[in-house]
């Protein structure tokens, strides 16, 4: 049932709009809309009921274990939500002057300081509104840096082939060519290939570490030297920052610029696709280029740093200051964790991942890089299973839904065939991990005994497998009713 099917012409939800219909005196006829938009005409109760029931059709962290690799689906503390939504915070206009927002700005300033500390960077700007937005800011700063030195020859960004798709896409948006380099059998960047790739055309290297293969790039120091020696800068994709939070600082590895996904590492909600927040941190040499606005503090007062203060800034990335409410949630989370709590994030995320790896291996799953430590995530490859039974990674993923678990990430990274990328996060208990292992064991048995059962999964979800081909071929993107 669509909300439009609950609609009936002429119905109105009278408490939600002014009782008196104001006269539109000041707008000439030619500007006026002739036909009303197709919005639902439903009662408040029907709307509440419709969306409450729709919500129940979702898996979510609050209802299921959600071991989606590279997505860091950890618990989103409820206090972050309620405190970020205190009436005064919600009511504050973005263009209200700083003097009316000292409480809010104190939070933002302190968040900047904490993020600097955990990343080991010299400066942080909070304004990017998602990871990819932060990536854009980062690469734009790399470009601004080179150009500020009169170096216009650097037109290439190097990206390992295991990288997230956002990396090459971002580089292109910043006007760069992308050079992909291969990964070796251990899951590390191929150093020889990297050496061959760098040169005076190299603007920088974008690296996720631990990588999307779930392993820590052992030769990071060598990589750093190769790139820097070639005059390039090092970009840290913070997608996997949770794996090292409080343990290793990207700044200490020699990165020049980093983006963080606060909706991963700082536990702001994913919200079914967003909003996120992708603050960027920079080393000293990139400080002048950070995107504005930034919160400054002087004479006991917080104030916005803008173009006037930072003439070399790459500029403004949002109409206001970014996803303030998301940043507030991250701030509250950070204050509850504190230094001690942050040190533990990476430790327990890593413990959970390695435990799950060990247990899945014991029951017969193939691990993509069995000789390596898992970082906060790891890869299972089902190539062997598929060859033997025809059961694919997708089948296993769908069957997990029937068992009450969200599926891991499937078919990413693309380098590993029939892969499941599994990230349990630090907030799951051993009890839950054990239940997941039990489900995976049952599935393995089903795969061997009744593979056709898995082909038809899931069975218990609101819908069964969907026809994606039809969806793309016979585009139905709006209700025509």
């Amino acid at each position: 049932m669509l909300i439009f099917e609950l609609s009936q012409p002429g119905r109105r939800n009278s408490v939600q709009a002014p009782a008196k219909k104001a006269v539109v005196a000041g707008i000439p006829e030619k500007f006026l809309r002739k036909q009303r938009p197709k919005l639902p005409e439903a009662s408040e109760m029907d709307v509440v009921r419709h969306y409450t029931r729709l919500s129940q059709k979702n898996f979510s962290i609050d209802t299921q274990f959600y071991p989606l690799g590279s997505c860091t689906m950890k618990y989103n503390p409820r206090a972050c939500n309620s405190l970020a939504m205190l009436p005064q915070f919600l009511g504050r206009h973005p263009s209200a002057p700083a003097e009316t927002g000292q409480g809010f700005m104190a939070c933002m300033y302190e968040l900047q300081e904490m993020l600097k500390d955990v990343t080991g960077m010299a400066g942080v700007s909070l304004t990017p509104m998602a990871g990819a937005h932060g990536e854009f800011a980062g690469v734009a700063m790399i470009r601004a840096y080179h150009e500020s030195r009169g170096d216009f020859a650097r037109n290439e960004i190097i990206v390992p082939n295991a990288a997230h798709g956002t990396n090459p896409a971002t580089a292109v948006m910043c006007g760069y060519k992308v050079k992909e380099i291969p990964t070796d059998s251990e899951g590390d960047v191929d150093l020889e290939a990297l050496k061959a790739a760098v040169g005076p055309q190299t603007a920088g290297l974008m690296l996720t570490n631990p990588s999307t293969l779930g392993v820590f790039e052992k030769a990071i120091q060598a990589i750093q030297k190769i790139v820097h020696d070639a005059g390039g800068l090092l970009y840290y994709d913070g997608a996997n920052l949770n794996a090292i939070l409080g343990k290793v600082k990207p700044g200490d590895m020699g990165f020049d610029v980093i983006h963080m996904n606060l909706h991963k590492t700082f536990s702001t909600p994913h919200g079914g696709g967003g909003p996120g927040a992708g603050p960027v941190g920079v080393s000293k040499r990139l400080l002048p280029f950070m995107p504005i606005p930034i919160v400054g503090f002087d004479k006991n007062e917080y104030r916005w740093l803008t173009e006037q203060d930072m003439p070399q800034s790459i500029g403004r990335m949002s109409a206001h200051m970014g996803n303030a409410g998301v940043l507030m949630r991250a701030y509250i989370y950070a204050r509850m964790l504190g230094a001690e709590g942050m040190h533990r994030v990476a430790e327990f995320a890593t413990l959970n991942a390695n435990y799950l790896l060990a247990e899945l291996k014991k029951i017969g799953y193939d691990i993509a890089f069995p000789q390596r430590r898992a970082s906060h995530e790891f890869i299972v490859t089902l190539k062997g299973l598929k060859d033997k039974t025809g059961v694919t990674a997708m089948d296993v993923a769908k069957r997990l839904l029937d068992k009450g678990f969200h599926a891991p990430t499937t078919y990413f990274p693309q380098l590993v065939p029939e892969c499941l990328l599994i990230e349990p996060t630090e907030t799951e208990s051993k009890h839950t991990l054990d239940a997941f292992v039990a489900a995976m064991k049952a599935i393995l048995e089903e795969a061997n005994s009744t593979p056709e059962l898995l082909k038809g999964a899931p069975y218990t979800t609101p819908v069964r497998r969907l026809d994606d081909v039809k969806a793309a071929r016979e585009l139905d993107l709006t209700w025509k009713g």
Binding site: L54, N58, L83, H93, G272, H320, G338, L357, E426, L475
Partner: protein, 459 residues
């Protein structure tokens, strides 16, 4: 250990299973020199009780003002149901709906949202959201350039929100795209209908209402741009669309791409975010559109279901050839917005829009009677307008603030040519009493300054 559930016994059993001595061991592939991570500027952890007290104190520091600022973010009443449902765990803590069978709630909601936005804008299709209005405009510019192929010039009027123009500049400048500033008619405060740019251009951007709150001559402008073989990008306030002609009906053929700030439809002001950018376009352009799109299809039993579609445009499939690098969008705010639109319906939205308009006109009437205040442009306006005051705008606004009033947006930095100009907005949230209070304070302040100009208000 905040939010970490492990007992000592768990840890021991887990390490045994792994075959590791200690948790520290699990980091043994990381060069020792890098493992320090000591935090010096992160304070000790607080309990939820402590952080609650801190945040409440800070919230009270910020207080509550009677707000007449608009300038791209508008104060509207948001029904209580909106965020109570939106923050239900199943919406709040779900991921992007890649596993469609486990995400029908979010997916169906987005499909409904797409339908509502397409209808509101008068366009064929909508995506599932972008970051905000400004970045949506930047994406629209990129999209127009991709579609147009022969030109990388974009006509960008000065009546577009100044910050939007800045964001577009930052976003597109490294792709060889030229933004050509189009000045406004000084008397009318709108784009001149007498444009005569002869060079090829990919698109003309048309804000409606424009940053000054004035209504542009969208029909003439749209037809002109189309006659030049260019696209039209509409930048609209979605709340205004309950009253005024949707971009899909501008001129003979309508705008090609429509973007805007979704905030007025259910997002609180909240110091600037999270809001969301919306984007709608004609069917012909859908494969050039960035961002996620949900389609309706069937499952293997023939039952209706929803799924992400046209993913071949996106970065996770297409990598460096994607339409955009966008991945995370503003899903939760879209959730709120969809519920908001459903609760208001067409009639409710129209009433709210009409009330905003009427309140702003009433306020302008009151202000017009005050010595030292004049309305700069003749209109028509939707719910915002520019006034000029006889004293420095910054001083007036500061004096109003002392009375608990945020009197508007100071235009003197962005548009110095307008003099001491303030952009004022009165939405449906303002009562007659509020408007009077504003006008009375304005009158009091201006008259006091006339009597004792220099030192009456210290800065």
């Amino acid at each position: 250990m905040p939010f970490i559930p492990h007992t000592e016994e768990d840890i021991r059993a887990m390490l045994d299973s792994i075959g590791a001595e200690s948790i520290e061991n699990l980091f043994d592939e990381i060069p020792a020199a890098l493992r320090s991570g000591k935090l010096t500027r992160v304070p000790e952890g607080m309990s939820e009780m402590e952080v609650s007290r801190l945040m409440q104190d800070r919230a009270e520091t910020d207080g509550r003002y009677l707000n007449f600022i608009g300038a791209g973010a508008y104060e509207h009443h948001i029904p209580a149901a909106v965020w109570q449902i939106t923050t239900r765990g199943e919406f709040y803590s779900a991921y992007t709906p890649y596993q469609a069978e486990a995400s029908q709630g979010t997916l169906q909601l987005i499909y409904e949202y797409q339908t509502m936005m397409a209808s509101l804008t008068g366009m064929d299709v909508s995506n599932a959201s972008l970051y905000d209005g400004a970045s949506a405009l930047a994406e629209a510019v990129l999209m127009a350039v991709r579609s147009h192929k022969s030109s990388r010039r974009i006509l960008m009027p000065k009546t577009v929100h100044p910050n939007y123009r800045k964001v577009v500049q930052v976003t597109v400048k490294n792709q060889g795209i030229e933004l050509v500033e189009v000045d406004y008619d000084a008397k009318l405060g709108t784009i001149s209908t007498d444009l005569n740019d002869d060079a090829d251009f990919a698109a003309l951007v048309i804000p409606q209402p424009n940053f000054f709150g004035n209504l542009e001559e969208v029909d003439v402008l749209t037809d002109w741009a189309h006659s030049k073989g260019s696209l039209v990008i509409g930048v609209v306030n979605p709340m205004s669309l309950a009253l005024i002609t949707p971009p899909g009906e501008w001129g003979s053929n309508g705008a090609d791409i429509v973007v805007g700030e979704g905030q007025p439809l259910g997002a609180p002001l909240a110091s600037g975010g999270p809001y969301y950018g919306f984007m709608a376009c004609k069917t012909a352009l859908v494969r050039q559109m960035p961002g996620r799109i949900v389609g309706r299809t069937v499952d293997l039993e023939g039952k209706q279901g929803f799924t992400l579609t046209l993913q071949a445009r996106e970065q996770h499939i297409r990598r460096s050839k994607a339409t955009s690098n966008i991945c995370t969008n503003q899903g939760l705010v879209v959730t709120a917005s969809t519920i908001f639109m459903s609760l208001l319906g067409p009639d409710g939205l129209e009433r709210v829009a009409a009330s905003c308009h009427a309140n702003t006109l009433a306020l302008l009437d009151m202000l017009a009677k005050i010595e030292g205040v004049e309305q700069v442009f003749p209109g028509p306006n939707f719910h915002e307008a520019v006034i000029r005051v006889s004293s420095p705008a910054a001083d007036i606004l500061r004096a109003l603030r002392a009375q608990g009033i945020l009197g508007g947006y100071d235009l003197s930095a962005d548009y110095p040519e307008l003099g001491q100009a303030i952009l004022v907005c009165a939405t449906e949230t303002k009562t007659d009493g509020d408007l009077q209070r504003y006008a009375e304070q304005m009158e009091r302040i201006l008259s006091k300054r006339r009597e004792a100009p220099p030192c009456a208000y210290k800065s």
